[in-house]
Every structure is written in C-alpha cells, then in structure tokens.
C-alpha cells in the first residue's frame, strides 16, 4: 500500500493515514498535517483530530461532499513532504517519578522476559526512554507514548487484565499508555506513577497534548509514596517548555 491514503470512516468521517506502522516520522507528519488542516478552516469541517498515524476529519455531509473534501485533502497533501515536516511548537517535556515492577506494577518481569532482557536492563531501558505523546485517546487525556525500541514490540495480551489503576504505565507494540482512568487493558502493566492525566474540575483538566514528551524516571517505593503525598495531581512530575 502506498501512503498517504484517504479513506472514509462511517458516513461523515474522513481519515488521512501516513503509515500502517508506527514511526517517528509518520507520527510527526500526522501532527503537522493536523495543524495544517485546522489552519485551512474549510467550511463544513466540524472536527479534526489525530490518532497515531492518521488525521481524522468529521464533516457536515449536507454542505460538504465527500469528493470535494477528498480533493482539498489531496491538494494539501501535495504541498509538501509531510514526513519531513517539523513538529508543531508549544510542546513540553514532563519527567514523571515511576516505580517499575513490584506489586504496584506486577507485569514488568513478564514484559522483560518477552523482550529478552533482565529486569534491571528493562528498567534501565524504559526508565531512560524519552517518548513523545503520539496521540491522546481511548479515555479523556490518556496519552499513547512512543516509539520505544524494537525489543518492546510485544503483542497485546489475548486476555484482558480486568483493571489497572489511574497512573498505570502499560506497554505493548513499542508504546506506553499512561492510564488516565481505572480500566481493563490488554497491555502489560510495567510501571506505576502518581500522574493524573485527567482531573475534572481543575483549571487544566487535560494535562497533556499530542507532541509533548515524557521521561519515566525510576524511583523507590518510598520516594514514590512521598511524591504522591506531596503532589496528588502529578505525583512529583516536573514540566518544562521544549524550545522551538
């Protein structure tokens, strides 16, 4: 299949896809193209959002024909090589204290085995990775993060884990998800943080934006407990602007 491709989603959705596999470049293209579509402000387009490697548009089918929208999207796609596009500005780096393994995150050992690493090497690998918020999805404010190295390209479990807590760092297919809610998952629970990506009622209920970067710094259980007690929203995470 030759990318990018444009396909329909339901009756009133259009999906522009840059790759069928996750890569840094295809995600960067997605974020940049999303900004360009928003800036175009085409009449009839009701919503623009991104997934890992696609831009989704929802539009009013009564005022904008599918063919017309497809033509506009192809025209915009042809204007530059989106795989070479820079990341949008206004991004932040978050460093989040994280307990890897222990009873707080019981699947680290299993994931390390599957990746062919000792637990110590696994923590070193995961705890130093600087990952990007590839997209926000599944639940309010919940980031998909990556890409991690190829050794972490582990399939999802066939059976769901009935429940992981808020702040759980789970892993599959070379990505993390940092759970924003308590939910079942088919991904492996390798770390635990005190970071709440979504908190209703706070000034900024959704903390992260696609394009932000994160580092999950390994800490001891006692440090984790102290961070959580001192900072119930972000569990001791630090935040800084990434220079453009």
């Amino acid at each position: 299949m030759k990318f990018p491709i444009i396909r329909t989603a339901g009756l009133d959705g259009m999906l522009v896809t840059f790759s069928d596999a996750l890569s840094e470049a295809s995600n960067r293209a997605t974020l940049a193209f999303c900004e360009a579509v928003k800036a175009s402000a085409w009449p009839g387009v009701q919503e623009v959002s991104t997934s890992l490697a696609s831009v989704f548009l929802r539009f009013d089918v009564n005022t904008l024909r599918h063919e017309t929208l497809q033509e506009r999207l192809w025209e915009l796609l042809s204007q530059q090589d989106w795989l070479q596009a820079p990341l949008p500005g206004g991004r932040r780096l978050w460093q989040v204290p994280t307990v890897f393994g222990t009873e707080l995150a019981p699947q680290l050992g299993e994931a390390a085995d599957a990746a062919g690493l000792s637990e110590a090497r696994a923590i070193e690998s995961l705890g130093t990775a600087r990952v990007r918020v590839l997209t926000i999805g599944f639940a309010p404010g919940q980031p998909y993060l990556g890409p991690l190295g190829a050794e972490w390209n582990l399939p999802r479990q066939t059976e769901l884990t009935p429940q992981v807590p808020v702040g759980a760092l789970v892993l599959a297919i070379s990505q993390f998800v940092l759970f924003a809610t308590t939910a079942p998952t088919g991904w492996r629970h390798v770390g635990q943080t005190g970071f709440r990506s979504f908190q209703l009622g706070s000034q900024d209920p959704i903390a992260l934006r696609a394009g932000d970067e994160m580092i999950f710094t390994p800490v001891s259980r006692s440090d984790y407990d102290r961070f959580c007690a001192e900072d119930s929203r972000f569990g001791g995470a630090s935040r800084e602007e990434i220079p453009a």
Binding site: L11, G13, Q46, F138, A139, L200
Partner: protein
C-alpha cells in the same frame, strides 16, 4: 426551582444529553444518550430543544416525587409508569403537581427508557455537556435522595402523545464499509451479512456484543494493527472474531479491527435490543447510507408535528374532575376530550 426527588432508583440510571462532540483530540468520546431518537421524541412532546438533558433508565426506572409543578415526558423503551397510582401513557407528556409521585418500573420491551423534564435537567455541565460518562469519570449513576432540578420551562403544554418508530425488537442494521473493512476477506464480509446474530450477554452504553453459531469473523494480523479512531456504529471484532457494535460512549481509539460502521439512524435498534434479540446486517453503499440517514434526519425534524393530544376515553378518566380543577397548569385551549 422545581425538581424531582429520587425516592427509589434502578441500578443504571444516568443523566444524558447529546454528549460531547468535537473533543476527540483530547480523548473525550462523544457519549450522550444511547437512543437519540428518544431524546428527540421527548423534546418534541415537551415543545423544547433536543439539546436538553434527560434521565436515561436502563431496564428499570424508579420512584420520584415532584417538589413543585412540573412537566414530564416518557419515551424510549416502554416501561410501566404511574402517577400517584394512576397508569400513565408512555410516549406522552404529562403534568405533575407538588408532592405527586411518579413510579417507573421495568422495561416491557427494549432497554433504555427516558424521563424528560420540562426545561430539561439542569445539572452541572462537565466538559461542555451534562451527560454522565462513567468510564471517563464524568458524572455518576443516579442515587437515592438525588434531586433532579428543572431548567427554565418555556412551555406549559402537556397531554401530547406520539407513535414511536419501533426499534425495540431487533431487525436489520444497515452497515457501510470503512477504512478497515478490507482487512477482512470478501467471503468473510459476505458471510457476515448472511449470518443471523443474537444480542449477547455483554452490553452496555459503550458497546453491544453479538453472538452467532458457526465460525467467527477474523481479520488478518488481528492483534498487531495500530490503534485507530473509533466512530460510533463501528463493528469491532475482538480476538476471537466476535462482533461488538460500538455505541457513542465507546472509547475514542481502539486496536481491534472494524469490519464496517452501522448507520447512526440504526444505532437505537442496537442499544434497545434486549439479550437474545435477533439482529442481522445489510451492507449498503455510502450513497445509500447517506440517503437513508438523510431520510431519518428529516423524520426527526418532523417529530414536533407528529405530537398530538392524547386520545382519552372520558369513561376511564377517574381523575377527570381533578384534571379540570387544576386548569391553571393546563393550557387554556387544550381539550381533554379531543
């Protein structure tokens, strides 16, 4: 402010409205009422906007007491309903007086019944809507002693009824192909439309499981495709090739492949199917789907004109005198014998 006080309540009752469109980029799924047609019917019966919030009752209602005079309408899955012991018509609007008790029992057909208040339910707005979205931590189910406050009521008309479109006993769901349909072999897609399904035991506001006899409907590379945007109506195949129809409260993205998307106008039929109800799929082209949806949208717009005064037999109106004596809350030109 007039309100309904909750004296008894079923386990799965929540405030719902049109939900939260436009926030997918923040991971906020649209949510809102499972049966949007019921929301439009209630709005038409009360002569008000379909954007107002109502009470969605899954399977079982509750007992409510009015703190002051207020209007109600009942739509969606028909449930046993009575006002101070007098049976109330479903798919109709009614007047309640202070202290009167409204009892809503089990669904006779379908799943989701709706209780609408004149002026809507004026509860707190969260991320732009009043709809509870339980998985997202927005709102909660209704509990004993909750107060459901009415918003400002712009009308006083009651005693209207309408004949609803029957979406409570399954049937055929029209489905269009989408961006992952060709992950499924052509013969699998054909067999999908030839198969009779039953609603399975797993169903909630996020999605509805369908079961069938024979082989499942697996795609290639099922466990390793990239997570992708979900639109409501998507039919997702889980690892064992079992279809789930995803409803508006589904998560915003998902990694299971989707064979196609059920038309929005057929989604009430999915949500309102009780366990065991028979459902099947019919592939339609995008053009056919758009035309069917446009016809449905026009029908929804015409609902206010379909609301007519309830036909009541005076011989069965034991409350007739009381009804007329409280004429201050009945429209002066309403004719109870019409």
């Amino acid at each position: 402010m007039n309100a309904l006080k909750v004296l008894r309540i079923g386990p799965l009752v929540s405030i719902q409205d049109q939900g939260r469109p436009g926030q997918l980029q923040q991971g906020v799924s649209r949510g809102g009422a499972v049966d949007l047609l019921a929301l439009a019917e209630g709005a038409a019966l009360l002569r008000q906007s379909a954007d107002l919030a109502a009470l969605e009752m899954a399977g079982m209602g509750g007992l409510f007491e009015a703190t002051g005079p207020l209007r109600i309408a009942l739509t969606g899955a028909p449930m046993q309903a009575s006002l101070d012991g007098e049976a109330l018509a479903w798919n109709a609007s009614h007047q309640m007086q202070a202290g009167q008790r409204l009892e809503i029992g089990a669904a006779r057909r379908g799943v989701y019944g709706y209780l609408h208040l004149g002026g809507g339910i004026d509860s707190a707005v969260m991320l732009g809507a009043r709809a509870a979205h339980l998985m997202s931590g927005l709102g909660r189910t209704i509990a004993l002693d909750d107060l459901l406050p009415c918003g400002p009521d712009q009308s006083s008309e009651t005693g209207l009824g309408l004949t609803p479109e029957d979406r409570f006993q399954g049937g055929t769901l029209r489905i269009v192909a989408g961006f992952q349909s060709d992950l499924f072999a052509a013969d699998v897609r054909a067999r999908f439309a030839e198969t009779g399904f039953r609603r399975g035991s797993r169903a909630n506001r996020m999605g509805v499981e369908l079961v069938s006899d024979g082989a499942g409907f697996a795609a290639e590379g099922q466990l390793n495709i990239l997570s992708e945007i979900i639109v409501s109506g998507d039919v997702q195949m889980t690892g064992d090739g079992k279809p789930f129809v995803l409803l508006r409260e589904a998560q915003t993205t998902g990694g299971y492949p989707r064979i196609g998307t059920v038309l929005p106008c057929d989604l009430p039929r999915v949500g309102q199917a009780q366990a065991g109800t028979e459902l099947r799929f019919d592939w339609v082209s995008l053009e056919e789907g758009l035309a069917l949806q446009a016809r449905h949208d026009a029908q929804m717009k015409s609902l206010p004109g379909q609301c007519l005064p309830l036909l009541r037999d005076p011989a069965h109106m034991q409350d007739l005198l009381a009804y007329q004596l409280i004429s201050g809350v009945v429209s002066a030109d309403a004719d109870p014998f019409a």
